[in-house]
Symmetry: C2
Subunit: 505 residues, 2 copies
């Protein structure tokens, strides 16, 4: 794509003046409609060192109300960020509905300069680019507008600009080692950029590769593209929102290997019981195992993600307590997931989970999870059919990234039957010390049992991948359920530790 850019064109002062003024006015009038329409906008700038990203950005943002956009200056990842999946630090910056983010460098840093510096191999790099494509697709599918610029200059021009920065004392400090390197290794960088541009030039978020040889021309092009793209997005948005409410998409859970799961109705709950004596003994044994494994995952920096779903009153709380009791309190966190806050609702639905991921070597226990999208949100109509149908694939992509990052992923459905739930609800209702545990909402949800059962079966069908399979825990007997959960956690972590060892050899 780079060779197609005309680097020789220029623009004289007069033409610039005539053309830029109407563009400025168009841009200045966009703040309010963006806010009113609730459109989230990401404008990102990549390009050669010295191409003038900072300069164009400064000019561009003068047209916006500084209270309504935020600037993201993407630096190389910190030590803390390196302990998370690649896309973690970028997820954190995505704007809310009606807000705009202007990015000086972005997630493309990982697959260009950082890739070259870190000697990332070809296969890993392609995986990273796939993650980026999935990320952008997910955002666009969820209503985001992404405008991507790559500012291109020739090697000669880049050299000239860096020289001139180095001449003046007041600007010399701006020239970094990375800058020097891009001049020296222009060809190598060129190939890396070209591959990146080709591979991530998706129709939903295409690249605008622009000559930055002439400052004026560059500004004109950038201003025009931003104004056009936002105007188009605003026009389309209303139709899209309307259409999304009516239509359903085809469920596309992604190209993964799925594990065959039983229907909920086929799960045998009877006889899955432990005596108090068996329980005490086996619980102690499995907790000791987990406690030892926690040391090992800490040392080998394996992240562990444990996701709990299940019927109301299935015993998730007590189950979680038996797991956390075996863990070093400095190395785990329990995340109760309630209904999303306003800030969370106004972003991609996975945002609040991305921002709650553990560090490597740590354990995160989610009490209810991202599967809310295909259960409560589906059933209560909190999102459109297209939204929840698309979510199976989005969730699989998410979990795959966690897996590729090295995580052990555990997903539990704590299962009880309808009668057992009623018994427990009545017990809560009739025991003063437990009454706070039961609400009208629980009774209402109980009436929707068949709808939930259908949703759970769909969830098993479309998200039980070989790298993150579902585990059904027979929960009518809490002792049995707790021991089974702990055992699966231990087995999975052990297997993951062994895999990691093999890979290292």
């Amino acid at each position: 794509m780079l060779e197609k850019v005309n680097l020789n064109e220029t623009c004289d002062k007069e033409t610039y003046k005539n053309k830029i003024e109407p563009l400025k006015e168009r841009l200045a009038s966009l703040d309010q409609p963006i806010k009113a329409a609730g459109l989230p906008v990401i404008i990102l700038f990549e390009g050669w060192e010295g191409a003038g990203k900072g300069h164009v950005i400064s000019k561009l943002i003068l047209n916006f109300d500084p209270r309504w956009f935020s600037m993201v200056n993407t630096l190389p990842p910190t030590q803390e960020e390196l302990r998370e999946p690649m896309m973690w630090r970028h997820w954190k910056t995505i704007p809310e509905q009606g807000q705009m983010t202007v990015m000086d460098r972005s997630w493309y840093q990982e697959v260009s300069t950082l890739r070259l510096e870190g000697n990332i191999d070809e296969l890993t790099n392609i995986r990273h680019m796939n993650e980026i494509n999935n990320f952008e697709k997910g955002l666009v599918d969820n209503g985001y507008l992404i405008i991507k610029f790559f500012l291109h200059i020739s090697r000669k021009e880049m050299k000239k600009r860096l020289e001139s920065l180095k001449e003046k004392k007041s600007t010399r400090w701006r020239v970094t080692e990375a800058d020097e390197r891009s001049v020296k290794e222009y060809d190598k960088c060129y190939d890396a950029y070209e591959q990146m541009l080709e591979y991530t030039n998706s129709p939903i978020a295409p690249w605008h590769v622009i000559s930055a040889m002439d400052e004026r021309l560059c500004c004109l092009e950038v201003f025009k593209i931003v104004a056009d793209e936002i105007a188009t997005a605003l026009e389309l948005k209303k139709d899209r929102d309307e259409a999304a409410k009516r239509t359903s998409s085809v469920i596309m859970p992604g190209q993964y290997h799925f594990v065959k799961m039983p229907e909920l109705s086929e799960v045998e709950l009877k006889g899955k019981i432990l005596t108090r004596e068996e329980y005490d003994k086996q619980l102690k044994h499995e907790q000791k195992r987990l406690s030892d494994l926690h040391n090992r995952i800490y040392l080998e920096k394996i992240p562990v993600i444990i996701a709990y779903e299940g019927w109301d009153a299935a015993g998730k709380g007590g189950n979680i307590k038996r797991v956390s009791a075996a863990l070093d309190p400095r190395g785990y966190e329990v995340m109760p997931i309630a209904s999303p806050t306003k800030e969370e609702k106004n972003r991609h639905f996975l945002w609040r989970f991305w921002t709650r991921l553990p560090k490597d070597g740590h354990v995160a226990i989610f009490d209810r999870t991202w599967y809310g999208r295909v259960m409560v949100e589906r059933i209560e109509g909190f999102c459109s059919p297209a939204d929840w149908q698309r979510a199976y694939g989005e969730i699989n992509d998410f979990e795959r990234q966690l897996y590729d990052w090295g995580a052990a992923i555990l997903k539990f459905w704590i299962h009880i039957d309808n009668d057992e739930q009623l018994r427990r609800f009545n017990d809560r209702q009739n025991t003063p010390s437990k009454q706070w545990k039961i609400t009208d909402e629980d009774w209402r949800n109980r009436e929707k049992w068949p709808a939930y059962e259908e949703a759970v079966n769909d969830m098993f069908r479309y998200t039980s991948t070989d790298f993150a399979p579902w585990h059904i825990i027979e929960g009518n007997d809490k002792y049995y359920a707790r021991v089974k959960t702990l055992k699966i956690i231990n087995d999975t972590i052990e297997a993951r530790l062994n895999e990691t060892k093999k890979r290292k050899r």
Copy 2:
């Protein structure tokens, strides 16, 4: 305080068993009342390396529902954290109402081990301890319960425990350099701990210094203190909340030097105007100055905090735009402050500002600020009289910490008169493209002009300190206001840069 601890006492197994069970039951029954009462609880553990903090914490939290507390494991500050004021990273972790935070190490790390390692001088250390005392007082005044434990062991015991860790391969990695050092430099550490304990042993958050020589005894004491303190806090809370609604405190803005400010009614607005020509020339000049200064503050790592307050329609937005236009977009952020979210309301009112501080060398522009506490919250009754009266001192302490961190602090009141506001409101009402800027709320606020005027005068009186004085900007003429604001920003930053230079010599 350390020498008063009896390190020889022990507890036999039988006594332990009899005593611990009722304590466990008491603790387990606290989750629900804490949540119901909305009490925020911080339990922190400090002490010698090897004293067994981790062990006691593990035992303690087994009694709580893992979904209702969070564990904070305080590590040495990261590079990112070192670019913020000392208390920044600790503010981030404070719990919401009804939640509990259990801390393995805490802000006391800064005035004990980190102090010794970093060779912090005596005066700075006392300042740090004062910041901690202010921080804890602020939390307790705002309804928090803080329970502080220091686990004490003898040098001999510490040495023995570290030796036994080093013997086993599976635990050897746990012994750090810091551990070794505390054995070697026991006396030095002892003195530092003793000073810290004495100086921060406030009646509102006293230290519990406990012998950790005997594990059982230590657990018993910790469990009992936690259960007692929480029970007492719950009992007192209702009375306190009631009393707070009725009573007023005496305004105590703190022991600072205050700058004499005029009453708002004395401010002369007439004649403070610039022609378009003067404006263009002076604006360009001041923007160029600011642009150059931005480079310098970046290089010298000076943080800049700019706070905008003023009447509705005073022209804050346009003013901010002229300031931000002169800044490198990678080095500033504009923070529009709306009404607080639920998460923000449920914490200390300064939390949402602490978490929005810039890095050093960066500029943060606040469009409305922490002064909402003594203006809108006071006038609308969103907080109690005692709350806003106490806030003057809390705000001064906050700004002093920013100043001591090295920040240049700028506080602007953009002032217009009542007639000018009416004119602008009507203009907005009658111009279709501006109608979104005016709401019923604005008209309602306008009716409360006299109440706001009184609040603004109080704010000037009690918070215009010599290190963070208020600047009144005559705003009937927007040109005049913008240039004056920019000039003050430039002068203040310049002065701060020169001070920093002098200090370095």
